[in-house]
């Protein structure tokens, strides 16, 4: 049960920060997402995001900064294992499931469905 409470609090807080930025700065959602992924990469690299993942679990990995965190963590892990080439293989490997699923399911759903008429 504690899992769900922490996931809710950590994930909710990350989304709330994004919302406040959107309201206060007029940044478009797309820009916020780019900033949040990049922030996740940097925070992941310097070890700040790791404690959030330990605490919030899915609350930290489901939001987009968690995607950046996985990219950075993967790159570092593969550099440890394979040297410099790991910088190129590690990030995408660690996030391969999410990227491939997004491309595949995104394409399928776009084929199956049509945009709803806006009221």
């Amino acid at each position: 049960m504690m899992d769900y409470i922490w996931a809710f609090l950590v994930g909710g807080s990350i989304c709330m920060i994004a919302q406040i930025l959107m309201d206060k700065t007029n940044l478009t959602p797309a820009r916020i997402l780019v900033y949040f992924v990049t922030a996740g990469v940097i925070l992941g690299a310097i070890g700040v995001y790791e404690p959030l993942v330990k605490l919030g679990k899915a609350g930290a990995t489901v939001p987009l900064p968690g995607f950046g965190y996985s990219l950075a963590k993967g790159a570092i892990r593969e550099v440890e294992k394979y040297g410099l080439i790991g910088a190129f293989t590690g990030g995408v490997k660690a996030t391969s499931a999410g990227i491939a699923a997004a491309v595949f399911f995104g394409y399928i759903m776009a084929l199956l469905f049509n945009p709803k008429t806006k009221n």
């Binding site: 996931a7 809710f8 609090l9 994930g11 909710g12 990350i14 989304c15 709330m16 994004a18 919302q19 406040i20 309201d23 206060k24 959602p29 797309a30 916020i32 997402l33 780019v34 949040f36 992924v37 990049t38 940097i42 690299a45 899915a58 609350g59 489901v62 939001p63 987009l64 968690g66 950046g68 990219l71 950075a72 790159a75 570092i76 593969e78 550099v79 410099l84 790991g86 910088a87 190129f88 590690g90 990030g91 995408v92 996030t95 499931a97 999410g98 990227i99 699923a101 997004a102 491309v103 995104g106 394409y107 399928i108 759903m109 776009a110 084929l111 199956l112 469905f113 049509n114 945009p115």
Partner: protein, 154 residues
């Protein structure tokens, strides 16, 4: 005399405007984003616990959660449900990985009439593209810096 009347009318007008214009919705927006974002993460947590209980290792469970959440985001976008959530949730539905899937399906559906290659195939990445470019590139830089630090520290 004229001046005073003018000011009075101005005052009344301003009071009317203040009543009509919605109060700064920052707090309301933030609460909605917090609650919806938190709930979406709880859905992710549910699947994480479920897959862990199937005996999937802690290292691999992220792949399963990401795949399921992306599927749900894409499917609910197709059904038109996700955008209805987004109307209230704002960043709460944009920032989770389900929002990443939403950002792919929405433009892909919208541009279907431009064909399956340059409509669906390329418009899928209108928002997802920049995310991947900046995310992957910065992770490569992190990897290179980490390598250099390791070599120099030797």
């Amino acid at each position: 005399m004229e001046k005073r009347k003018e000011n009075e009318i101005k005052n009344i007008y301003q009071q009317m405007v203040q009543k009509k214009v919605p109060q700064s919705s920052l707090i309301k927006d933030a609460i909605f984003a917090f609650v919806v974002g938190g709930l979406i993460c709880d859905v992710g947590q549910f699947f994480m616990n479920l897959f862990l209980s199937f005996g999937i290792s802690k290292d691999d469970v992220g792949y399963y959660v990401a795949t399921v959440m992306v599927f749900l985001g894409a499917f609910l976008t197709g059904l038109g449900v996700y955008d209805n959530i987004g109307k209230y949730a704002g960043a709460g539905s944009i920032v989770p990985i389900t929002g990443f899937a939403n950002s792919i399906v929405s433009p892909a559906m919208e541009y279907k009439r431009e064909g399956y290659i340059f409509g669906v195939g390329s418009k899928m990445f209108v928002i997802a593209g920049p995310i991947l470019v900046y995310g992957i590139s910065s992770s490569i830089i992190v990897g290179i810096i980490y390598y250099l630090v390791k070599v120099l520290a030797r």
